[in-house]
Amino acid sequence: MAVRRSSGKYEDVPNDRQRGRSMNMIEWYFPETVDEAAALLARERTVPHGGGTSLVKSGLSSFSGVVDLAKLPLNYLKMEKGILEIGANQTFASVVENLSNLCPDCILVAALGSAASTALRNRITIGGSVSFFPPWSDLIGPFSVLEGEICTEGKNSGTYDLSSWLANRPVQKGTLVTSVLFPDAADWDSCYYREVRVGFDYPSFTVSVVARKNGSKIEQVRAAVSGGLERVTRLSGIEERLNGKDLSQLAFLDVHKMARVTFGRKPAGSAEYLSEIAAVHVERCLKSVLLGEGESR
């Protein structure tokens, strides 16, 4: 029915009865196999729900079906020979619990363990987080430095690395994330930093650094900053200058300059400020991981 807006224009807006009718036509599905879920997700206006908060926040008004993923056999975490596979239904809390036993130094423990709040970590799933990768994601930085992969079933089933996943959002439509894979997740020294205004907050940026050393030689180092205009930025310039080099090389790097990432303005600070202190924290994380200085949070 037509509603006259304050601009003077008439707009078509469903009245409450119409909205109510379509609201009551939302179906909830609770599939028990991945194939079943994938088939349901291929339908029009049907959305997956892992238990996280994004769908609650955005609402169900544009959907006619919700596929609840909780019954799928995707709630597992396996670590074998450094290969880490996490089922999409693992919550942040369960990943932290499981990894605290299997690989307590893993950067994912620090990152996911500080995301959101206790109650929210009990609902946010790996699958949900990967599907949305919001600008404040605590997963994306570690995902980037550990060079994780996203495994999916359904319409566009396959395995995706992070950049192709982020570059190709439409690939997610009708597709079910079943797990994430980290081919080389163990035996890293790591440092994770999240820039927050108070403890329970969504980071304006995060810094993730992982490295392997052999005596005073840096075998490999990876560093990423998330939250900038690009979802996540690998600091490849720094990595190239340090990979295979002696630890002393760190002192010769102008990290503050090389770690500059472009930000947009956020409530937490201006673009210039965020860019400047992100670089400060990159330097601190590098020093923490490589030289053992200072704290890692």
């Binding site: 609201m23 009551n24 939302i26 179906e27 909830w28 729900h49 238990g51 908060t53 769908l55 609650v56 926040k57 609402g59 169900l60 008004s61 919700v66 609840d68 909780a70 809390a93 959101a116 709040s117 206790t118 109650a119 929210l120 009990n122 609902r123 403890g199 329970f200």
Partner: protein, 155 residues
């Protein structure tokens, strides 16, 4: 749509809209001890225990909680027979306005289940999503220490 829930040990069959959140379904069916502070998962006042895990009930679709066990603060103790955590909160003066208290107590309950002798850091972390504007958290942390001491000495 309809769903059944086991709330504080009692089986319930409730009707709700497909997009209803658990907070509203609980409150509309008499569980006013679950409080709405923000409706956005940012304050923790609505927290309940869903199958052993602390969750913000305003961020859980009732449909996705159907068939599961839910515990509210009324399920761990009553005014006639309070739980040691409830008693500890009373005794240390950790309750001022009390609006955050039910959810806070459930957060403590979950913590002590997993970690019977938590450090102060573990306590603060377990309560990280439960905002309190009245107490400054000082006596809340004292209450947790007291409850932990009493509960572990009883085992």
């Amino acid at each position: 749509m309809k769903g059944s829930f086991i709330v504080n040990g009692k089986k319930e069959e409730w009707s709700f809209a497909p997009d209803a959140v658990l907070l509203d379904v609980l409150r509309n069916n008499g569980h006013t001890e679950v409080h709405r502070g923000c409706g956005e998962g940012e304050c923790g006042a609505c927290a309940v225990i869903l199958e052993e895990r602390l969750v913000n009930s305003c961020q859980v679709f009732a449909a996705s909680a159907a068939g599961q066990k839910i515990t509210t603060v009324a399920g761990i103790g009553s005014i006639h027979s309070p739980h040691p955590i409830q008693q500890a909160f009373v005794e240390t003066g950790a309750i001022q306005c009390g609006f955050c208290t039910p959810a806070m107590i459930l957060a403590v309950f979950c913590l002590l289940q997993k970690t019977p002798n938590p450090t102060d850091e573990e306590i603060r972390k377990a309560l990280d999503g439960n905002l309190c504007r009245c107490t400054g958290y000082v006596k809340i942390i004292e209450a947790v220490r007291l409850a932990a001491r009493r509960m572990s000495s009883n085992e």
